[in-house]
Symmetry: C2
Subunit: 525 residues, 2 copies
């Protein structure tokens, strides 16, 4: 297998020529094209790319790109436990949390899949024991609320997934506990959550792989202090999710601890105990297992070499096409589902932290653009906000729509002969066509240029398995793009410098007059 910088491949030289031909999907978007440009995904979802600036010739070239850069072979190598996090010299095994698509991964005689499955069983059993009232708080009351303390991947993914399933669980009789999240080192965050929660009925999950995350440790002590002041025993109200080598492991300060290892990156940890504890406690272990099964199905489909049968791969390649050859530096994620309100924020981390890189996996400089800026809000809210710029601004922003036929709660109202869910879906269909085709007008202010590309992932209803599939789709998309760009998508050296300088500020050894001056402005000194 070869790991070449993208500009050293032969396909890299071919694509600019094709980009100059400018295929007009604006003029060719009709029912036939819509029907022809659909890729089935797992869990009943489908990926539609009809409104992308991609013609048959482009599909051929993208297939050539996938083949030349050996994308599915690299994915297999990752599954088989090859050291794909080259910077930190680690394997990348988040797929193994939800299924065994490759060979068993054995290290020093230890089967890592077995370890992950054992932890899965352990936290599922723990959740069940909590639901069965086998664990209770200091005052003997059952737990009613679970509060996750964590930041970054220990917050964004689990929070987005919790919100995505909350309505589904509540109306389907699956809701067990309410969940809340404390993440920011801003003390107002923890203070507000704590002051509005029934402390004697709260179970906290402390999440830090290293056990050294500044924000999380500060918030842990904040919470323990409040528990103690309320006359409660912190060790009866807290579990830990960490690595086996961290100071939090096997510590009597916690009811129990559940483990991940260095092969699970923070932004890919939603399928581990990081997401699993809070989701199992909130909705029951079976719901979390359904979610994992949906993700595993998507992981399996992502092995397919034919890009017209592999939605994650095709989505990745179209993204590269737009980023490097159509020169579009951003992507908006627009779910027409209030339940997915924080899913774009999770994708923002997943994508930008993975592929926001400027050196190759071998630490060599690269001479092409990598990861785009990701942003988004749910529709129809976004329509009344930033869509003006998307339609009529001077920049073209590639769009990723997500939509469902049915609502989660099934509680609706008929106004003007249609239910709200139909209006929601009608708005989504209308936007895709409006962006693609635009509108001519004698009044230039009412003119829409069109030609603004979008894709659509759609399905019947947002369920746990659908959500698992959605998550894995994006994880695999980002992975494939990282392979194309030849970057290491699994480290995050870019977060280190800020940590070093923060320590300097807090220790008073600035070593830089500007750093000291800013610290004065902000009242640190």
């Amino acid at each position: 297998m070869q790991y070449l910088n993208f500009d050293k491949t032969s396909i890299y030289k071919k694509l600019p020529e094709h980009a100059r031909k400018t295929f007009s999907f604006k003029n060719s978007l009709d029912a036939k094209r819509v029907e022809n440009c659909i890729v089935p995904m797992a869990a009943g979802l489908k990926y539609s790319w009809a409104a992308k600036a991609v013609d048959d010739e482009c599909v051929k070239l993208l297939q050539e790109l996938a083949d030349e850069t050996e994308l599915t072979a690299k994915y297999k190598a990752l599954l088989n436990g090859e050291m794909m996090n080259t910077g930190e010299k680690r394997k990348v095994l988040h797929h193994l949390l939800r299924g065994e698509q490759g060979q068993p991964v054995i290290e020093n005689g230890k089967n890592i899949g077995d370890f992950y499955r054992k932890e899965l069983s352990r936290f599922c059993d723990f959740a069940k024991a909590v639901h069965d009232n086998k664990y209770k708080g200091t005052t003997g009351k059952p737990f009613s609320t679970v509060i996750q303390i964590g930041i970054g991947g220990s917050d964004l993914g689990p929070r987005a997934l919790y919100l995505a399933l909350d309505n589904w669980a509540e109306t389907g009789g699956k809701k067990k506990l309410s969940a809340k999240f404390i993440s920011n080192v801003d003390p107002d965050d923890a203070s507000q959550i704590i002051s509005s929660s029934p402390l004697d009925q709260c179970l906290f999950i402390l999440v830090s792989k290293s056990g050294t995350t500044q924000e999380t440790l500060a918030n842990e002590l904040f919470v323990k202090d409040k528990l103690a002041k309320a006359g409660l025993d912190p060790s009866k109200h807290m579990i830990a999710v960490t690595s086996e080598t961290s100071p939090l492991a096997r510590n009597s300060a916690y009811l129990d601890s559940f483990y991940i290892d260095d092969y699970i990156g923070g932004r890919y940890s939603s399928s581990s105990a990081v997401g699993g504890c809070v989701l199992s406690l909130a909705f029951g272990p079976d719901v979390f297992r359904e979610f994992l099964a949906g993700a595993a199905e998507a992981d399996k489909l992502a092995l397919e070499k034919d890009i017209k049968k592999n939605a994650a791969l095709l989505d990745a390649l179209i993204g590269v096409w737009e980023r490097n050859f159509l020169k579009l530096p951003y992507t908006a994620v627009l779910p027409y589902s209030q339940a997915l309100s924080r899913f774009p924020a999770h994708l923002q981390q997943m994508d930008m932290e993975s592929n926001g890189k400027r050196v190759s996996r071998d630490g060599e400089p690269i001479n092409y653009e990598t990861g785009p800026v990701i942003f988004g809000e749910p529709g129809t809210n976004g329509q009344h906000s930033f869509y003006q710029l998307l339609h009529q601004g001077t920049s073209v922003i590639p769009l990723q729509f997500i939509g469902f036929t049915e609502s989660q709660r099934g509680d609706d109202v008929t106004v003007d002969n249609s239910i709200s869910q139909k209006k929601l879906a009608a708005n989504l269909a209308a936007q895709i066509v409006a962006f693609a085709k635009g509108q001519e007008s004698g009044d230039r202010n009412k003119e829409f240029p069109g030609g603004r590309p979008s894709s659509l992932i759609y399905g019947k209803r947002l369920t746990p398995s659908v959500l698992g599939n959605l998550l894995a789709h994006y994880e695999n998309k980002v992975m494939f793009q990282g392979f194309v760009w030849n970057v290491n998508s699994f480290d995050q050296e870019g977060v280190q410098l800020g940590k070093i300088l923060t320590k300097k500020v807090l220790s008073g050894n600035y070593g830089d007059s500007a750093l000291e001056a800013y610290s004065k402005l902000l009242g640190v000194i």
Copy 2:
């Protein structure tokens, strides 16, 4: 006064030459530069631009730009009631909601400032009457919760401001009612809010200027249906905020109605009854008036011609410098304050809907870039998410930091010799310097290029007047940028096409085979 397209000004030709000289703030950022590059704002805030790629020569050129394009004169004309929303042929009077900076605006013998002040008094009196239990729900219980039904500007601004002051009000003894918001036409949004609220103690605010917003009317009927089914009289639980000519005005279906007019754009309506009713009900009318006073102070400072004394103007011009001459198409807004968690989402609408335009205020095409993409999340959360790309990605993203010396709740914990609030501020100082100066390293993967520009707005504590100032700062910044680009920042024709096509879908008269095909995929048909 002249309204020229930007590329027709003489300064437009001078700036590219200066951009080629590439001033290195990376190397010149020291304590002296930090101290020299501060502009005092209203309400005790300050604007620091030391870490921007702007040297003395650039400041001179930007002053020349401000002078040649008559930015403050255009602002005065707007204040004096000139028809600045050229597309819709309307005045633009949101400043008048919070103070009288220009001449009185009289139309058909009516003093519009008097009208705004009368409505302000009316809704302040209404809020007081609710707090005094002069209004009660159907069952005679006092109101405990206010729920705003609105979308776009009727949602994002009021929601961001409510969250920004909630902790301040709660710990300062000012909190009167809890507030919630229903916006999306997705029925899961309204259903979840309603199912988790004590309906007999809920007061709803229906907000739609036109009285015809599809999402809002659907949600109104959703709510009324739930009230009726709970045996409650909807007319005792709902007020309206609308225009005097809308179907919602003077309607016995509401307890009372409060009015705005066509001169208050949705995204600029937070200072009107749109934001004022919910904020006055939640925190008391005095808090809302403090907020208005802070905004008025900022509006007054924005009249200053010297860009080194006018933070909104300087911020605007630096943004233009980055967008058109340094060719940077995005801006991240990064408040180090959990209370401002949704402030970036509000700015996203304010900025992108105002200046995401491709024709001039006279409807002529323009040949330069206008509004950038705006996105952001609070720090330190963002540090553990997308900052990797900001530090080490291949694109440079201009940054706008906001930070405070004190927390809102004053509830903190000491860990490793510092309270969390100090850690928060230390992180912010560290990030500014890390972005500006970067770090060399023998390992390229640990190398930070630096030279990534940021500004900082900072102050002591986030209070109502500080928040009013922050809001007005950004409103005025966006206004000045619109003047430079010679666009109409006050209409939003880009939202119309989607509405037209949605109606076609819902009526079944598609008129386009792709539109019909997408409607099928999404289950509308």
